[in-house]
């Protein structure tokens, strides 16, 4: 797949497919296509995601994973848009390289990429009634070879972490990381409230590997 970002306000992705070449995209993102492009579907099961994994993700709530991806087969052009502003990245993944991309940001990827929904981090918070709630950071795990296209909220800031090097991000700021990067939730003091401390969860990302953080929420 040859993929290009088009436009500066709310960019679209223009993918050029050779005859027989297939890409998968989140359903509902197509902007336009040439009539020569065939449209199909690829279920999670066909992608090797077990029903147990799929149901486990949904049982945790808030997971946005669809039951299937839309499949587009060349030859021709097809374009996608996530209907929002933010930087688009086209990332060629070498064989064996795996990225965890925050859910809701995936646009399209080559069919040669192996897909799996994962939970990158989880933590607990107390609501106003003192009830404990679980919070999860869902992500799409994508393993090369192939080309991956995604869009951030706002701009993307990239870091290449050395072994043992750590960067701290807000839970919302995390966009993507290689699977070699360790993700830990830590609680950071925010304010003194009466007799207690108010703390917020932050992510500690430890190298080696690349990390992407986005500037919007």
């Amino acid at each position: 797949m040859q993929a290009d970002s088009v436009g500066g306000i709310t960019p679209a992705v223009l993918a050029t497919l050779k005859p027989g070449e297939k890409i998968l995209a989140a359903h509902g993102l197509m902007l336009f296509k040439e009539p020569s492009i065939k449209v199909g579907r690829r279920t999670m099961r066909q992608l090797g995601v077990s029903m147990g994994t799929y149901m486990a993700m949904h049982s945790r709530g808030d997971a946005e994973e669809n039951f299937f991806f839309a499949e587009f087969e060349g030859p021709g052009h097809v374009s996608f848009s996530r209907d929002k502003g933010g930087e688009v990245r086209v990332v060629p993944l070498p064989p064996g390289q795996t990225w965890h991309l925050r859910e809701g940001h995936l646009i399209c990827f080559d069919e040669s990429i192996r897909y799996q929904p994962v939970v990158v981090a989880q933590w607990q918070v107390r609501d106003a009634n003192g009830q404990v709630e679980n919070r999860y950071l869902f992500a799409d795990s994508l393993a090369g070879p192939g080309t991956l296209v995604f869009q951030a909220y706002g701009n993307i800031l990239s870091f290449n972490l050395q072994p043992g090097e750590t960067i701290r991000t807000s839970t919302e700021g995390f966009l993507a990381a290689q699977n070699t990067v360790g993700v830990q939730v830590q609680w950071q003091f925010a304010a003194q409230l009466g007799t207690g401390n108010y703390q917020v969860p932050v992510l500690h990302l430890t190298g080696p590997g690349q990390v992407m953080v986005h500037s919007g929420l």
Partner: protein, 218 residues
């Protein structure tokens, strides 16, 4: 009349009107104006009571428009991110612009509406309206997000999401169809509605679906 497009993300169209110049737009789009600029309502009752009610109630097309006349300056905005384009229409030249996308037009432009029927399938699109504008005159309109332009040759076709259609020449035909997601019963159950457009003529697409970010209108 002179039109300047200012700004990048949420641009305005700044119009300088000479004495006798008149423009119209939907209500609620004026950002600022010279106190010397005159203003009045323009009732959009073209086609009689039945057509007007259908257009207003079903299509969401406004019942009245706002008319401004010079001398002086007046600025308009749709208060949303997106590219603004100005187009001069020759006498008799007809174009269709997406509903609630037109910012302004000179009063020499004939304003009509154009209905694109849906597929009629249960639970699917019942169709949508576009503004049909015939020259001579100048029109200014704004897309949602970026604008991507194409020139279709006679018989050349393209399939598009119906939220993507911003502008087309009247010579470009448009037809709703059901895009199956693969074969079999499941392919039809998961299908979605799209538009097939066919040249000859220009077609301009927008990168954001307005139904996900409803436009501001009067």
């Amino acid at each position: 009349m002179d039109v300047q497009i200012q700004g990048e993300f949420i641009p305005i169209a700044l119009v300088s009107l000479s004495a006798g110049d008149r423009i119209f737009c939907e209500g609620g789009l004026m950002v600022y104006s010279d106190p010397s600029v005159g203003f009045q309502f323009r009732w959009f009752t073209q086609g009689g009571m039945g057509t007007t009610l259908k257009r207003t109630i079903l299509g969401g097309v406004p019942f009245h428009l706002h008319e401004y006349f010079g001398p002086g300056y007046v600025a308009f905005s749709r208060y949303r991110p997106g590219e603004v384009r100005k187009l001069d229409l020759a006498a008799g030249e007809t174009v269709d612009v997406g509903e609630h996308s037109m910012l302004l037009a000179t009063t020499t432009v004939t304003y009509n509406t154009f209905y694109v029927p849906g597929t009629g399938r249960v639970g699917r699109m019942i169709g949508f309206w576009m503004d049909r504008l015939t020259g001579p005159g100048t029109i200014v309109f704004q897309g949602h997000g970026n604008i991507i332009t194409f020139q279709l040759k006679p018989g050349e076709g393209m399939d598009i999401d119906h939220g993507a259609l911003l502008f087309k020449d009247a010579s470009v035909s448009v037809r709703a169809f059901n895009q199956a997601m693969g074969s079999g019963l499941m392919g039809h159950a998961l299908s979605f509605e799209a538009l097939h457009v066919e040249g000859p003529g220009r077609i301009w697409l927008q990168t954001v679906d307005p139904s996900r970010h409803p436009p501001r209108s009067g």
